[in-house]
Amino acid sequence: MIKFSEKQLKIPKLMRPVYLATVGMSKFDRAFPETRTEELCIDALTAASDFVNMTPAELKSYIHTCYYGHFADHFGDQLLGEAVIHDRLGLDPLGTIGVKTGGATGGSAMWEAVKAVASGYSDCALALGWERMDEVPTDEGNHLISCAADKDWETPLGHIYTGYYAVMAQRYWKIFGKEEESFRKTMAEVAVKNRGYARMNPHAHGPMKITVDDVINSPIVAAPLRALDCCLMSVGAACGIVCDEKTAYEITNNPLRIYIAAGSHTLRVADRRNMKIPLLPNEKPGQYDNLAKEFPGADRYPGFTGFLAARMAAWYAYRMAGVVDPTDDLDVVELHDAFTISDIQTYEDIGIRPYGQGRDYIESGDAYVINPNTNKPGALPSNPSGGLIGCMHAVGATGLMQIAEIGYHIWNRWDEIHEPQEKWDAFGREKPSDWTSLQVKDANRGLAISHAGVGSHVTCTILMNPNKLLKED
């Protein structure tokens, strides 16, 4: 049984308010055979300077420390790749550090940057992440990813990370999905939604106009997961710049408040010991007493059906930011949809729906920009970027792309980033004739979940319009 002390459950406190001043991202694709990583990183930082009408040199003049998210040295065959990028960005001799937390690397890089500003060490910090996943053959890439599992106990078993991850999907599918055909369709709806949203995103590398049947009939990867249930393997870069209040308002007229917290859980999915469910502010004591009766087999928590790291990241972040109910208090979310089923699991871990009822978030239409059941705005749109399934999963950049996308909605500048024909042309991508704005109207608060593997690390970032805070400092 895992137990926490009171000290471990302290609500994290930023010693001064921290603001997100600007963000940027490169094009994302499966491969860039004729582009060096530094070119993609410079694209991302240049996009961030363009966004606040500065030159890159002007924006760089504010940066005091740098936090780089780059998960896999062995993909790029370059140790200290962060130092290479830091040099190429012309940011020497500023202090810098590399952050590596698997799929959560981007979020973790931002976690470090925010803490640097909150502590007063820096007034302006850069969080920039990237991944280079195209420079080894795909099966060697799968081997390298499997090295993020325990190399003695798991990696030799097939050298395929999906195998260690999908056992959770299988368990969730049996226990909470009850192996129902209707649940399988709901899983597929996640893929249809996210790949469809990616069609409106020129940065996205996996846009597709598909149906539920296309997903259900796509090749099996590891049952019940099929090819179209799975996220992309991408290359690209993204960044965000965080500041104290004074510096933020020197860079832009409308910075966003940023809160961020992190959680963790065992690297080995098999090593999960039982514990009581840590309750979020919108859950009540005793709420889950009958969970195992309603869903036979759900007697273990987190078992294989939940991500404790995601639950704890939300547990801390909601209390930091004053979020009580995410559906009521937030306007848009970007979640880590590595697989359709893990996306549904996350709805429960972060309290959008209670445990066992994640599917309702999709089936109700709440997760859509426009609710397909009512043709009215969805209650809490999820992944308008296309997410990891439709937009990209360039590991070190993913969490920062999500934060950028949430920012664009709250700044009410989503169209400006995703609509211009010039960008579609520059990226060599065809803008769909039915291109539609996915700007979430009147968005004031949003959340991004950055998540590693079977849940070893998760960060929960909350962005808010500073005039719409939920809690006094």
């Binding site: 099966d139 106990w153 030799p156 999906t162 195998g163 056992v167 999907a169 098999a270 010991r273």
Partner: protein, 200 residues
Amino acid sequence: MPKTDDEKGYVDVVNGRYKPRGTFHVIEKNQPIFNKDTGKLAGVTNPRDMTYIHSYGGEAIFFESLGKGKLMASRCDNEKCDSKGSIFEPFRIYCPDCLRKAKPVDITEKARKTAKIHSFIITERSGAFNTLPKPIKFVNVEFDEEVVTILMSVLSVGEPEIGKKIIPIFRTKSPTYTIMDLMFVAEGTKESDLPDGFTF
């Protein structure tokens, strides 16, 4: 093409240090990468033959025991620890709560009597360097309530199903001294149906 014995690298421990012998890092020339459409140079390949050397430390007893047909786990026996009596499989050298050394315990019989499938997945895919036949049937194995964790392994014979009783098998002939020396089979499997080199 598998390497011959002369082309292989070996490592011993002598006087407390690693002593490599044999052949390591066979050199292979890099090759240019050209864009076939433009004829321009895009980059180069960097082939490399690496051998990592790795210590099992306090887990060595687990990996050595597999080849002897034994499944070792570890148990916290610290009277002052809330987790006293908890058995860890995967084996943990130290109790994660009190950080006192956990005691190695043989759970072979417990596994034979109580192992069942907690979850599973069947996949046709694998990464480079995989040696398992496909499809691979991953299983997560739960034991009785004394064992507080769940073990990941592979089902070698039989079809996986949640709750299904399974039996451990061990590579006792030419063991690899890795987790690949342990697999599971469905209850009732005959010894003659086990993969080469494995026994109950």
